[in-house]
């Protein structure tokens, strides 16, 4: 999947916008300084094709287009295989080229896509936006769902995993942590650690799937990468299917903040998306599960803290199997405001740094200010005072469903859906209802998702329903 192409090719010029080419290349993720020689684990270097029934084949995508289907080359077969996309879940590429981003905002679209970028202007019809793949662009406003302004100096310190390189693995039981197909799988007591040079506030987020039970400890600002210890500043989140606890020892003293919080039943189902947000300025640590705040612990002190993260399984359920994927670790400065993920309504709304919220009609963004019509009055508010904008739900152009409507997921976050026209080892191209014609480098895509509307976890749902009947 790696390409020797020069780093450009990022273009998409919908609505006549002028293109600013953003160059991106390998090894540009911020952080990631492996000071410790990690245990070498053979990495899976091939791409993965997974079907919606859960079956999967390793190999390599050689080409893909609606006329000929998806051509998959695998060493298991004598010849290349041509598949139709009707039951394909996703193709995950073994390696995606890193993208250096220092975006100012995160945009969520009505169709479920999301992007990191930079906004410039907004009126009743259009939003001016600069994206990493298309430069300066203009998109229709009804496609927008929300804009969240990122904290200053926001940067992705780690995104992956694409392999075990850079990580230190301490297996207290054989193969407690292994890398496989874009995920770390833990199946016994052991430690997975990495120094990421975390000096600012940090957010550690990941998808977590598990079997019947687990006890996962996530350390942030750890000094050691091969063991869990409690120097001043390191905080450890204990996660089980039932509850979350936080432990922290300050200046080698006794633990504090051990009061846990139960996970709501709807959150305690595999898989979950967990996020741990450590705000150095506010002295708080917050845990979110499936974008819902579970608890914020106050009076944390991260002074004299380490700069690494680690994941550890221990305790009576250390034999439980957990799968860590879509791991992203970012750091930032200033206040960290989580995205609200409020349901769409028929009004716009602004969220402010003082945690107030005002609903009205967002008129425009211009010259660093946002104009909000509120009860017949236009308010002009500096963007620096705004943390998030929610946009009223409006009919938006959408891709007609079809087997070739795919969603590309990018390293560092963000995803775009479009009607795929062609994929080869150099370029992926298609048509987006929001952005118009799209084309970017194949190597810039981490995963291509198919059958976006099809349920993909029916087995899990069935098992859960077995007991739901009992609660009637």
């Amino acid at each position: 999947m790696t390409s020797a192409l020069p780093w450009l090719l990022l273009f998409c010029l919908p609505l006549g916008a002028a293109a600013q080419i953003v160059r991106f290349g390998p090894n540009t993720l911020i952080g990631g300084s492996p000071a410790v020689k990690p245990e070498l684990i053979p990495e899976t270097r091939s791409d993965v094709l997974e079907f919606v029934d859960g079956s999967a084949l390793h190999g390599q995508l050689s080409r893909m287009d609606p006329a000929q289907g998806l051509c998959w080359v695998t060493p298991e077969a004598n010849n290349a295989i041509n598949f139709r996309p009707d039951h394909v879940n996703f193709i995950r590429f073994a390696r995606a080229q890193d993208i250096r981003l220092a975006p100012t905002c995160h945009l969520v679209f009505a169709n479920g896509d999301d992007l990191y970028g930079w906004i410039s202007t907004l009126d009743n019809e259009r939003l001016g936006i600069r994206t990493w793949f298309g430069g300066q662009m203009v998109i229709p406003r009804p496609a927008l769902r929300s804009i969240t302004f990122l904290s200053s100096n926001y940067a992705v310190a780690y995104e992956g995993p694409y392999g075990a390189g850079g990580w230190m693995i301490v297996n207290n039981s054989p193969d407690s942590w292994t890398f496989h197909d874009g995920a770390f799988v833990g199946s016994g007591a052991g430690v997975l650690g990495r120094d990421l040079g975390l000096t600012n506030s940090a957010t550690v987020e990941f998808d977590l799937a598990w079997g019947a039970a687990f006890n996962l400890q996530v350390g942030v600002y750890c000094g050691a990468r091969d063991r869990l210890e409690f120097p001043g500043g390191c905080c450890v989140v204990d996660l089980t299917p039932q509850q979350v606890n936080l432990r922290q020892a300050q200046n080698m003293s006794a633990f504090f903040g051990t009061a846990g919080a139960p996970l709501p039943p709807e959150a305690a189902k595999s898989p979950m998306h967990a996020a741990i947000q450590c705000d150095k300025k506010a002295g708080t640590a917050s845990v979110f599960v499936n974008n819902h705040l579970i608890k914020t612990w106050k009076d944390c002190s991260f002074s004299s803290a380490g700069t690494g993260v680690l994941f550890m399984q221990s305790g009576p359920f250390a034999g439980g199997t957990v799968k860590l994927s879509r791991l992203r670790i970012s750091q930032w400065e200033g206040r960290g405001e989580p995205e609200s993920f409020v349901p769409a309504t028929n009004t716009d709304a602004l969220h402010f740094v003082n945690q107030d919220r005002a609903a009205g009609k967002i008129q425009a963004i211009q010259d660093g200010k946002v104009r909000l019509a509120l009860s017949g009055t236009d308010l002009e508010i500096p963007l620096s005072r705004v943390t998030e904008m929610d946009f009223a739900e409006k009919p938006a152009a959408a891709e007609p469903p079809g087997p070739w409507v795919v969603r590309a997921h990018f390293p560092g976050g963000g995803s775009l859906s479009f009607r795929l026209e062609k994929w080869d080892d150099r370029t992926i191209s298609g048509q987006s209802a929001i952005f118009g014609p799209l084309a970017f480098q194949s190597g810039a895509v981490r995963e291509i998702e198919f059958n976006l509307d099809r349920p993909k976890a029916e087995g899990v749902i069935t098992a859960a329903k077995e007991f739901d009947e009992l609660d009637e």
Partner: protein
């Protein structure tokens, strides 16, 4: 260890029987594709579809719903194929199971046996002639096997009354769609007329931790408060099989006046902590003071009670002991032929044939022949001719040196109705599976007979002789 002390506390509170199990169906594929055969590769990949053909060493031809043409895979990269259930797999009921010395197991109907070979009539491969040297154990299926099957409702079951002194929020077992559910402490029992040699099987699934007690051979349909059993209502002895905190299992003989003492140590089955369902299979033999526990088909423990068989009744009782949700289904009680597969490998007298009688006795000697429903058995006391109906099992004298399937074996197949066979696969086509073995020669099998086909790694070739 905090959980150990908690476990001890719970043990004091537990009601008499506890049992639980949960056996798990293998994870079924989501119904997004047509359920099909599962092709499993050595690298962990898998692909659903339909097996079209196997030419060992050449190609595995596979049909996939989304592929334009049959796919040709390399057999050396394939670990096994799991076959989707096929309609009408199998014909008449098999009357016996035959274990071979190499560990293989075949089901069928006994035709004959002489000094050279045993002939087994099978629905999947016709008559198989197997040399005596390859035989290990022949076990006849119980002639009146099923004693009880359910549940089909609450009728006939006795729900337990709340027990005074038990500080638990009590509830009831609820019947729904062929299963009993409990989400609070609850007891349900039935006199299922357990035979002296019995097999009790059921599926368990649970949410949260499993804390269940199963009373075996009880005469009390009401739960017994173990901590105060001496002062409670009278009851006859029984066994309490307890599943505690999902991972701990114990078997305790319970008597009205005797102190509580489990047979052996608590079993810690860590794998249970990672499950949420399993199948429990109990084999019990009063004459041998024996209770054997299988979980998901694996023998976990074979208890022998040095104090004699404790059970004085013929009932069973399920008691959910804590506020965890439990589902019990596919409950079956049957007569047991007294043979445990894992134990069959170690015969009591490997130099002679051993015949187990339906009456419970055993005879040591030599099986001269079996024909026309009669067995001719030679002992030091002379020759005895018995109807086959009076025989429950035969353990054949051992012969040395057997390689499973012979030196050319390249496949191990599992049958849909139990049993397995190692052989040299010659070809697999929809019309038949051609295979060969030193044990049965060449034979053609019905493909519907198999639930799984494992491809054995090629043995390293021996260096040529100088």
């Amino acid at each position: 260890m905090n959980w150990m002390s908690k476990s001890s506390r719970i043990a004091l509170v537990l009601l008499a029987a506890l049992g639980a199990t949960a056996a798990a169906d293998p994870a079924a594929p989501p119904a997004t594709n047509t359920p099909g055969d599962d092709l499993c590769f050595r690298n962990g990949d898998s692909l659903y579809g339909k097996l079209l053909e196997v030419q060992p060493g050449e190609v595995i031809r596979w049909q996939h719903a989304d592929a334009e043409a049959p796919i040709e895979f390399k057999p050396q990269n394939v670990a096994q194929i799991d076959f989707a259930p096929r309609p009408a797999a199998g014909g008449a009921i098999d009357s016996c199971k035959l274990w071979l010395a190499n560990g293989d197991k075949l089901a069928g109907n006994l035709v004959s046996c002489d000094a050279e070979a045993l002939v087994l009539d099978t629905w999947y491969a016709g008559k198989l002639r197997i040399p005596r040297r390859a035989l290990q154990t022949l076990a006849f299926n119980p002639r009146t096997p099923i004693v009880f099957e359910g549940p089909t409702g609450l009728e006939g079951w006795t729900e337990g009354n709340a027990v005074k002194g038990l500080e638990l929020d009590s509830g009831r077992w609820v019947y729904r769609n062929g299963a009993f559910y409990a989400d609070k402490a609850a007891s349900i029992a039935r006199d299922v007329k357990l035979p002296d040699r019995a097999q009790v099987q059921f599926d368990l699934a649970w949410r949260g931790q499993l804390n269940l007690a199963v009373a075996l051979y009880t005469d009390s349909l009401q739960p017994i408060l173990l901590t105060d059993k001496e002062n409670g209502p009278d009851f006859g002895g029984f066994y309490s099989l307890r599943f505690t905190q999902s991972a701990f299992i114990s078997l305790t003989p319970i008597h009205k006046k005797a102190p509580l003492r489990a047979l052996g140590d608590y079993l810690i089955v860590q794998a249970l902590a990672q499950k949420d369902r399993m199948r429990v299979d109990l084999r019990m033999n009063k004459a041998e003071n024996r209770v054997a526990l299988f979980l998901d088909g694996v023998l976990v423990k074979d208890w022998r009670d040095p104090g004699g068989f404790a059970g004085e009744g013929t009932g069973v009782r399920f008691v959910n002991n804590m506020s965890g949700s439990v589902k019990m289904s596919n409950f079956r009680v049957s007569r047991w032929n007294g043979v445990i597969e894992e134990a069959a490998a170690g015969a009591a007298d490997p130099s002679h044939d051993v015949v187990s009688l339906e009456s419970g006795g055993k005879a040591v000697g030599a099986v001269a022949s079996i024909a026309n429903g009669r067995i001719t058995f030679v002992t030091t006391g002379g020759t005895t001719i018995l109807p086959v109906e009076q025989i429950s099992a035969i353990e054949f004298a051992r012969h040395q040196g057997q390689t499973p399937g012979g030196p050319a074996a390249n496949a191990h197949a599992t049958f849909v109705r139990g049993g397995a066979l190692t052989f040299e696969l010659l070809s697999w086509r929809p019309e038949g599976v051609a295979a060969a073995s030193p044990d049965f020669g060449r034979a053609t099998f019905d493909p519907a007979a198999f639930s799984r086909l494992q491809f054995l790694p090629s043995a390293p070739k021996a260096a040529p002789a100088p």
